[in-house]
């Protein structure tokens, strides 16, 4: 097939696009390299005035962003754990709200199932509130509410849960408690200090009083300012289940 210099068949107009690239001078000009531009490097940061990164566990080295980090980078794992925990908290808050203001019975039941498996001590208050003012007073809902409550009570009295929760609360309130109870032993239950005293010996009777008021519970005991973990577990003494 014959074609013209401008493209297209003889005696026919050049198809769209061919004329544009037929101007060889223009193309050559476009292909000529531009004179090199001078790039002025940024001044090196002054080590004294440069912002020092904090040493918290939130830190991820800036060079990590935008590229694949090594698989076992501890900061990555820490960030993932933190994000996961936040996501769980958001979901828990959303579900509590949905339980108090339910959209439908199905949704209400789904949230009760979730509470049964994932609910924590804070949810006991929510469940009690619902029990007192049940929007769906059927036998099934009442049964499920009772199951959720007993399962959560069992879970929050589990020694592992008590330790984990107590440690988290201590980390969270450490500064505040250092001012309020310096050097004292504190008993933590449901993220609050339920008893405090300068010695363990003095703490036990106070803890027993708190248990009388609130019903039997396990507490996490720690000396404020010192990372010493003293776990107060259940004991059968003088016919009482918990001390």
């Amino acid at each position: 097939m014959e074609t013209t210099a401008q493209g297209g068949l003889p005696n026919q107009p050049a198809p769209f696009g061919f004329e544009l690239i037929s101007d060889l001078d223009k193309i050559k000009k476009n292909l000529e390299p531009e004179p090199a531009k001078e790039i002025v490097p940024l001044p090196a940061p002054d080590s004294k005035s440069a912002v020092e990164p904090s040493q918290g566990k939130w830190d991820v080295p800036t060079e990590v962003w935008g590229q694949d980090p090594p698989p076992n980078l501890p900061q990555r794992e820490s960030l993932k754990t933190t994000l996961g925990r936040l996501r769980m908290k958001a979901e828990a808050a959303e579900r509590r709200l949905e339980l108090v203001f339910p959209e439908s019975l199905e949704n209400f039941m789904a949230n009760l199932w979730w509470m049964t498996e994932q609910g924590v001590d804070e949810d006991l208050d929510v469940l009690q509130r619902i029990k007192d003012n049940n929007p769906y007073p059927t036998r099934d809902v009442e049964d499920l509410l009772a199951i959720a409550q007993s399962t959560i009570r069992k879970r929050v009295n589990d020694p592992d849960y008590v330790v984990k929760n107590g440690e988290e609360a201590y980390e969270l309130h450490k500064d505040e408690w250092l001012q309020k109870f310096p050097g004292e032993f504190v008993a933590i239950h449901r993220r609050q200090v339920v008893a405090h005293a300068p010695t363990k010996k003095e703490l036990w009777p106070l803890l027993k009083e708190a248990q009388k008021e609130r019903g039997p519970f396990r507490a996490y005991v720690v000396k404020v300012g010192e990372p010493i973990t003293v776990f107060r577990g259940p004991m059968r003494m003088r016919g009482r289940r918990f001390l």
């Binding site: 996961g84 979901e91 199905e106 789904a110 199932w113 498996e117 994932q118 099934d140 199951i147």
Partner: protein, 137 residues
Amino acid sequence: MTVLFIDDERRRMEAFAMELELTIKPVVFFSEVDSAWDYFVKNQKKIKLIILDIMMPPGKMFDADSTELNLGLRTGILFYGKIRELAPKLPVIIFTNASSPEVKERFREQRKCLYIQKKGYYPTEFVQIVRQLLAEE
């Protein structure tokens, strides 16, 4: 190739289902067990994987006497048993909030079954597992 996704919480699972749709097509989602079972029976041959929640309304198919079953706490376990009667080798992912050690153990002992807790996974991570699982099949 179809992935059958059964979970009563459609809104919360939307992100997972969408991510699956983008990667593995088609995904058929059911929010209750009765319709899911009908679909499974009719389309058994083209289903390559089932993703199953545990705590769901029992539906008509599990009209059991046990309180726990009627309350829907173990619906997925019963559904899994029914699946296994018809398709003993079909891969099943138990994707649930249920966290009791007995349930975990029960499914870990099963062949062609993977137990995953919802709280530990983002949709993208979950899809990676599904892809891996399907690639191995």
